[in-house]
Subunit: 341 residues, 2 copies
């Protein structure tokens, strides 16, 4: 172990618009040493998620930005190599937030939960059974609140949040329309995930197709994309529709305001006259529900009532290109980096 | 009574932009005759409210538009002249929705409540103790939810909704910043209504003054105006701020989209990253709270804990000009038409 080194990917520069590989830098360093209360982790799986784009900016977002030269942050499934914390032992597999690197020293208190290697595949703790799945679960339960027979629309429906939103809404008796990019994703959403309708946002006359797919209007639009999909949804919203907003990936690379006219007054008028609820959130806002989510989603997964798809990239060095591609829909399912054994 | 006629104001044409007197027409007609279950009313007070502008348009709004040639609708305090309904007797003073006219026949079931001429001034049932007051009460209680020490900002603060919002929020321990147009309204809001700060939106550097008045940011923005005030509020909103949206009077006369850039993506990004809740409503959405409102507000009024100001126009024929002026802030307090004895 003493001969091992830490390989890490740091933020080299702040992107203007879409990130490029040059915005990241690979570094090698000696293994860090834990102090009292800390653990040394070897990261097995790294989660790549759209929110990370926000952390690359200097501006205010959910959380403090990653500083230049700092390791990109991100959720991991990690193995405890050395522990100076009483709750953890070498060999434990844990859900951590140890970033884009092969090893990390973190406070034992910061570890989120221990994973059972004999249970669900451990990397699901980064996807359907972790942050993206919990985003879907909490956003529906606390904001979307789909009722039996209502119409729920979700974009990025083959991604880990959208796929889970649609399947939970189906379990709750809603009619679910999913939107994805390209025929393979559309087939997956309809045939594997069981959505009532799946639509390709790249199709000609997408807005017309969405309207045809929602003859009774839209009661819940789970917003994780923005852009043209949001524009097509707006005229279809029913009175008292709910819009949980957990992401706007279509805008993360925007560098300048979009051309006018300014539609803010129309949006506010629609919110008023249709009694809409538009609410931004991240899953952490509803953390009190997390234990219940872990239990209930675990059961749904073991029973095969919720399905998921993973897009696995082998090797940490490929993380930047995979992340860059994800921002324009290049992934197909939950994007994970397998860091190695 | 048989010699009396009904005088009524009907919608003559649909306005393009700001209404003009020519969009209204005064008509005289024989008194209508009630059938079984109905009552004949003589209207004493007519409420003029911004929502009526929406009813003048053909498009979808809260409710069906007023048709051309139909009486403009509106809340009234009315006296029962003749009753063919067992619940009502001649001489009763009632809260009704009998429109811009001196008399009306309505279903007895449609009457909202009986008013006590020995209690609060009966016309308060159209203002602070009626629809506008209930809008303030319900929007704060169900959406705004101000907590002790939080900062609440409200525009049109000398109007019947804004004045009540601010005073209720003060009773609940919030710090309240009111925005009004012109020095008289600003003084009233600060000195008579007891807001912590009152600002003139016409002042130079209004946005800077608002920022200075909200050193801890804004937790609740009660939106009943839109436009430049909303723009100044946005950058000051705290994480988890709530925006009840009950009106957008600055936009009711808009005829064309505002010049770009399109700020919808920025607004949605703000909703996301600051965990905002933006929710449109009308008071009817929370009608289950109405009895409690009538009781609690009645007590606050009798105890002098909530104050109100009325702007009374004498004579139904002056309703159109008063209404037109209200849409650009020409009223000072709850705008009422005293129809006569």
């Amino acid at each position: 172990m003493a001969s091992e080194r830490n390989t890490r990917i740091v933020l080299a520069s702040r992107p203007e618009g879409a990130p490029t590989p040059a915005d990241f830098r690979i570094e090698h360093a000696p293994l860090p040493t834990p102090r009292n209360g800390q653990v040394l982790l070897r990261n097995r799986w790294l989660s790549l998620d759209p929110y990370m784009r926000g952390r690359m900016n200097a501006g205010r977002s959910y959380a403090a930005p990653v500083e230049l030269g700092e390791v990109m942050d991100g959720g991991t499934v990690s193995e405890v190599v050395q522990s100076l914390h009483p709750a953890w032992s070498p060999g434990d597999l844990v859900l951590a937030h140890a970033g884009w690197q092969t090893h990390a020293v973190v406070d034992g208190e910061s570890l989120r939960r221990k994973l059972d290697p004999a249970g669900l595949p451990v990397q699901t703790a980064l996807g359907v059974h972790g942050m993206p799945g919990f985003t879907a679960y909490a956003g529906l339960r606390e904001i979307g609140k789909p009722q039996h027979g209502e119409t729920v629309v979700v974009a990025a429906a083959s991604g880990p949040v959208g796929a889970t939103v649609g399947q939970i809404a189906k379990l709750q008796g809603a009619r679910v329309v999913g939107i994805a990019g390209g025929p393979d994703k559309v087939s997956h959403v309809r045939d594997d995930l069981g959505f009532d309708v799946a639509l390709d946002h790249r199709a000609d006359d997408f807005a017309g197709r969405l309207a045809a797919a929602c003859p009774d209007g839209i009661d819940v639009y789970f917003e994780n994309v923005g852009g043209a999909v949001f524009d097509a949804v707006l005229p279809l919203l029913n009175d008292f529709a709910r819009i949980p907003v957990c992401g706007l990936v279509a805008h993360y690379n925007d560098t300048a305001p979009r051309n006018g006219p300014d539609r803010v007054p129309q949006l506010m008028s629609l919110i008023l006259t249709r009694h809409l609820t538009v609410r931004g959130f991240i899953q952490r806002d509803f953390i009190a529900l997390y234990p219940e989510f872990v239990r209930e989603m675990g059961q749904w997964l073991r029973e095969g009532r919720i399905r998921y798809r993973e897009d696995v990239v082998e090797g940490l060095v490929h993380a930047p290109e995979a992340f860059i591609g994800m921002l324009t829909g290049g992934n197909f399912g939950k994007l994970l980096v397998k860091i190695g054994d």
